[in-house]
């Protein structure tokens, strides 16, 4: 089961990374993602309409991205809830869990992931027999090297599905929740977005810059490097603090000011370079639609309790986001 995670492209280097990334990139092309706009809007509307106050994370920000991934992979509607559990179990196994309950929780998570593995294998077998319009079908058809007819194997497809769920769920949940919180804390900017809904695209870039879902990435250094007088040697581990880079005063004027119309906005919440988030277009679309609807359809939105951040190094993640709404 751990091989499934060990071979993820996000933790691999070229040439293995180049091959997996190329194979996945075909399935993530712009048109396929843009085509999901209507479905995502319908999902968001359903969640927002049903929301009468309470924890905005458990009611909107958490279920949405898991359902979008299930939908994108062509899973039957009835199975969508299981994706949330698997995503939590993947996080537990990939990051490890602390505390006394550790061994037992880990064991339970592994059992869940074996079930997920079997589920994806069945879905893959089905799509091999009956291709669909979904991303799983596109991933199967993707050709890494047309001359060699290079395709993803079943094991690789299972691993890819798990990576998409792991990388695309919690991040997007936090992007929607953190954006909503930042707007609630900056009523002038919230009012600005309400008055000018067209601002949503630059607004989401700025909200990602201001409080993005991933605080820190890690890398092993492979070449002698000097940065601002500090030497770093091969074999050393470095932490790339995205949250700090996104508030760099040499890059951003008034970096601690939330300015929804900031342009240009070279924020790096999606990382940079060859590992830059492959789901960035999808994540942007989900966050834009969700934040736009939250702002528009929940006019009396207000904090109902002081939210707390989870004590996590890598992710910028709220325990809950309890709000009141008056329609």
């Amino acid at each position: 089961m751990l091989e499934l995670i060990g071979e993820w492209m996000v933790v691999s280097d070229p040439p293995a990374h180049t091959r997996l990334r190329r194979l996945a990139a075909g399935a993530f092309k712009g048109q396929r993602i843009s085509a999901m706009g209507e479905q995502i809007t319908a999902l968001v509307d359903e969640l927002v309409e049903a929301f009468t106050g309470g924890d905005l994370i458990s009611e909107i920000a958490y279920p949405l991205p898991a359902t979008v991934i299930a939908m994108m992979l062509g899973a039957p509607v009835a199975d969508r809830d299981r994706f949330r559990e698997w995503s939590d179990e993947l996080a537990l196994v990939a990051f490890g869990a602390g505390g006394d309950a550790r061994a037992e929780r880990h064991e339970r998570a592994l059992r869940g992931l074996r079930e997920m593995d079997a589920y994806f294998r069945e879905l893959i077998a089905l799509r091999r027999r009956e291709p669909g319009e979904d991303m799983l079908t596109a991933l199967m058809a993707a050709d890494g090297d047309p001359a060699a007819g290079d395709r993803l194997s079943d094991d690789e497809l299972v691993s890819m599905c798990a990576l998409l769920l792991f990388a695309g769920h919690e991040t997007t949940t936090n992007s929607i929740a953190n954006a909503t919180l930042a707007l609630l804390r900056h009523p002038d900017q919230l009012a600005r977005l309400r008055a000018d809904p067209e601002l949503i695209a630059p607004a989401v870039e700025e909200l990602l810059r201001f409080d993005g879902p991933i605080k820190v990435l890690n890398r092993w250094v492979v070449a002698e490097t000097e940065i601002r007088g500090r030497r770093i040697s091969p074999g050393e581990r470095v932490h790339l603090v995205l949250a700090s880079a996104n508030r760099d005063p040499e890059k951003f004027a008034d970096p601690d000011t939330l300015d929804l119309a900031r342009r240009p906005n070279p924020q790096i919440a999606f990382g940079k370079g060859i590992h830059a988030c492959i789901g960035a277009q999808l994540a942007r679309m989900e966050t834009r639609i969700a934040v736009a609807r939250i702002v528009e359809r929940l006019p009396g939105l207000a904090l109902a309790a002081e939210p707390r951040w989870k004590p996590s190094l890598a992710s910028r993640s709220l325990e809950q986001l309890r709000v009141e709404v008056t329609r």
Binding site: P14, R21, R22, A25, G26, F28, K29, G30, Q31, E205, P264, N265, P266, Q267, I268, F270, G271, K272, G273, I274, H275, A276, C277, I278, A280, Q281
Partner: protein
Amino acid sequence: MRIGVDPDVCEAHGQCSVVDLDLFPLDDDGHSAVGPDREVPPGEEGAARIGVDACPVRALRVLSA
């Protein structure tokens, strides 16, 4: 349609490649390998425009429609 990248401006954000890796290839460091002047295959103009617009530092340009 022709597109190009200014290598002095590119900061390897990779956002163009996320739109379409075939139209916007990267080098090993993650910088754009589009080159100064590249022809966009017919029918791909829409994706090319989205990719150019995705550059947060405006390193990419549409050279001719």
